[in-house]
Amino acid sequence: MFDNYNIFDRKKTRLHCVITTQSPLSHIGTVTGNVSNLKTLERIDINGDRRSVFAYSGNALRNGVIRRRGVSKALEVLGLEVNPDVHHTLFAGGRIDGSTGSDMELDAQIRKLMPWLSVLGTAKPAKVFGTKDAQMVQGRLNVGSAYLVCFESCDYVYEQFPGLIHPDAIEGIQAILRAKADLTEDPFNVPDKGSIAAYRDAKQNYIPLLRKVMKSWTEYVMVDQTTRRDSTHDTELQKFLPAKEQKLLAGDGEAKKKEKSDQMIASDRLIVPGAKLYSRWDVNCTDVELGFIVDALLAFSESPYIAGKGNRGNGLVSMQFWFEQGIDRGEFMVLGKGVDTLSPTANAAHAKYSEYLSVWSDYLSQAKESQELRGLLSA
């Protein structure tokens, strides 16, 4: 099976992921008391200052969106159930729990039979996939954190994907970055006076404008306060309590021992709807593996929620992907806007993956007792 599938026939693709929040977005970094703060990453902004900026972590995108949705769908299509060890290896990234092997045949077999693991990688534990040693399987997909497009991240976003930058800010960012590059071109020598003056001038001329048109990330934050009342205080609901408890609450008989109330008030900081986030994805993979990424994203778009507090409708997003493959570039796919749109490039990769899965399914149905396949999956 898959004799013609060459796991080394790879292409380097860069995907530019633009996330637009459709509802408030909650992604908690630290919690102080009853206030949850957003996750931030620190970076040096275009003014040279150390600043925090909201970022949706690459780990959450990679594992929450691609790994969980994509691998779930593959197992569902193939009708496979796996044991807990394999499940942990597929969905949690596994573990190294013994001496580490370097079985290249196994590495090739995993990549050939499980493109999802080839893309995402795993730490294969001992005894999983029919071999006694633990082994690392290196992934082929790097997913960057999704930075909020704002003043603090504007130079980063500009360098990766300038189309997302406010048109009025482009000239200023270009001028400052150019002046900065001249300053640091030879780090072993002190920059000349002209370069220093040009850098100062560029900052002086353009930073006020950039601050005005790009906005700080804190201007994209809203606060949502939620309360949860103690249900035993609700006279309508007290009737469901045991009679003895009801009497105590009503003040009859002996006094009720004072207990801590279950009432709660909490504040969440959220990113406002309509904000844009940018994440850079680098992948060096086969067409089938790229097709798996497309398939995972399509599975995600069936319920396009990211981050926390989805029970309150938070985290609804739409996503737009653009691609670069050598000199080819263009739109890749659009998700979460009702109808998913796939470009010819995304469509071709997805078709190859679908064809791959259908060969896999046929093989499984024809060789139900295949020791090779079932042994590998411990299925």
Binding site: E42, E81, F91, A92, G144, D282
Partner: protein
């Protein structure tokens, strides 16, 4: 072969635990083996030995010799840390919540993520904000540049967006700074016995893998490590 300056321009913070990683000779060897489809995630010493001939024939860096010991003529990474902070990375396993239920078989359908084989983790990750990393080397401009182009990120936890590279630049320079820098400072790890004794040189002694792959015990020896290659903004006078 020319004196080179190899520069990686970074757009996101680098996750690194020491001042001598990433080493460009290890990266070039890895990229070369990856290009040839020979890369192994955890090679045995024998596999490393077997790949020596093909690496030696294709490596775009010149081999040097220090008291009879060969090495690739490259410096340690040189950079200025603009800011340091700490991020966290997490792992969790919740079978049946947002993934399908496994086939529990004879095992009780219970998960303990607080201990044991399926333990969740929430670990600190030190991050360094850096504009650019420079390495000095002796080699072939185009060979180095073409091998490095497919490398899109550096350091630890690249898969979740750390150490993203916006571009690579390899240019010829006038001076050879791969071993001794502009002011005579040590630029790369070398075995202690190879240190000159005719002048005082700043270094830190450390047992270190000074040739790739650095984890291989036969490549580890007591080394003199450079201490001026990584600067902090606070170091400035």
């Amino acid at each position: 072969m020319l004196n080179l300056r190899i520069t990686a321009y970074l757009s996101t913070p680098l996750a690194a635990y020491d001042n001598w990683s990433p080493s460009i000779d290890s990266l070039l060897e890895w990229m070369l083996l990856d290009k040839l489809g020979l890369v192994s995630p955890n090679p045995t010493p024998q596999q490393v030995e077997d790949s020596r001939t093909i690496v030696a024939a294709n490596m775009p860096i010149t081999k040097g010799d220090l008291k009879g010991q060969w090495y690739w003529q490259v410096s340690s990474p040189c950079y200025t840390i603009l800011a340091e902070n700490q991020d966290r990375f997490r792992k969790r396993w919740e079978p049946g919540i947002d993934t399908p239920n496994p086939n529990w078989g004879k095992r009780k359908a219970k998960v303990d993520t607080s201990q044991g084989a399926e333990k969740s983790y929430d670990l600190p990750l030190p991050l360094r904000t850096i504009d650019r990393i420079d390495w000095y080397a002796i080699g072939d401009v185009e060979g180095v540049q073409s091998l490095l182009e497919p490398c899109t990120s550096l350091g630890k936890k690249r898969s979740i967006g750390n150490g993203q590279i916006s571009r690579w630049q390899t240019i010829p320079i006038e001076y050879d700074w791969h071993l001794w820098g502009k002011n005579g400072e040590l630029m790369r790890p070398i075995p202690l016995e190879c240190m000159p004794v005719d002048r005082p040189i700043d270094f830190a002694p450390l047992r270190w893998g000074w040739r790739p792959p650095s984890w291989l015990h036969t490549n580890k020896t007591n080394c003199a490590m450079p201490i001026h290659n990584v600067r902090r903004l606070t170091d400035a006078p």
